[in-house]
Symmetry: C2
Subunit: 141 residues, 2 copies
């Protein structure tokens, strides 16, 4: 078993702030319309960016091994939710747009399949049911 930890602290309003594994600051916030300041990322979009970045790494590497000459790759991730709570992203569409030299559609399809079906941790987390365990502590001020 391995694990990864992320910490954030409340920074006024509904803003949360943390520091990433590589030392980059990260801030989440919400829309002005719903009382936020839009000063950071929407928490829900971080899941979609995480998925894009994760499958992107896999696909770029697998296609490199398959000696495919990719010049550019754009990944568009759309999460769909119901209008009523609970509102998970029950369906996520991932569209890959490539340019390159003599790209082979079969190899590209295979690379995407390997990432989404096996390697990409974020895809797997979305697809498989996970367990959330909560706890809390009240510290003296």
């Amino acid at each position: 078993m391995s694990s990864l930890t992320a910490k954030m602290h409340w920074n006024g309003g509904v803003k949360f702030e943390g520091t990433s594994a590589f030392g980059h600051k990260i801030v989440t916030d919400t829309t002005r319309q719903s009382g936020g300041e839009e000063s950071g990322y929407k928490p829900s979009e971080l899941v979609l960016f995480g998925l894009a970045g994760c499958t992107g790494i896999d696909v770029v590497r697998i296609l490199e091994k398959m000696q495919q000459k990719v010049h550019s790759l754009e990944i568009e991730v759309t999460g769909h939710q119901n209008d009523d709570y609970p509102k998970p992203f029950h369906t996520v569409e991932v569209k890959y747009i490539f340019t390159g030299e003599d790209l082979d559609p079969e190899r590209i399809g295979r690379a995407i399949e390997l990432s989404e079906g096996k390697y990409c941790l974020v895809s797997q987390t979305i697809q498989q049911p996970g367990k959330i365990i909560t706890s809390f502590e009240i510290k003296p001020a």
Copy 2:
């Protein structure tokens, strides 16, 4: 049904870059050890930060309505995975650390339960099995 879209494009190495809903730039990358440049967030940690930021908004708001005087809140999220592929975060621990004035443990427990069990989209996405639909396009260079 509502939906949210996030787009990223490959920016060399295994780096992906996009722009968030509120106009903030976002970059994902991986460890130097595995060939990255550590120039952005790890894709997998974005899921954990998304969860912290999402449940954080809920909990702060619910406790405000419950007239609890929270002074500080830290949220620590740990995702556990298996060592072999596929490696989703099968279990995610979320620890909330509060300071405040006469905080009521019962109300705090209730606020956390409401967020994790109902309101927080990211929690719901982790807990419920989702579907991923992929497609690709090869554009002329």
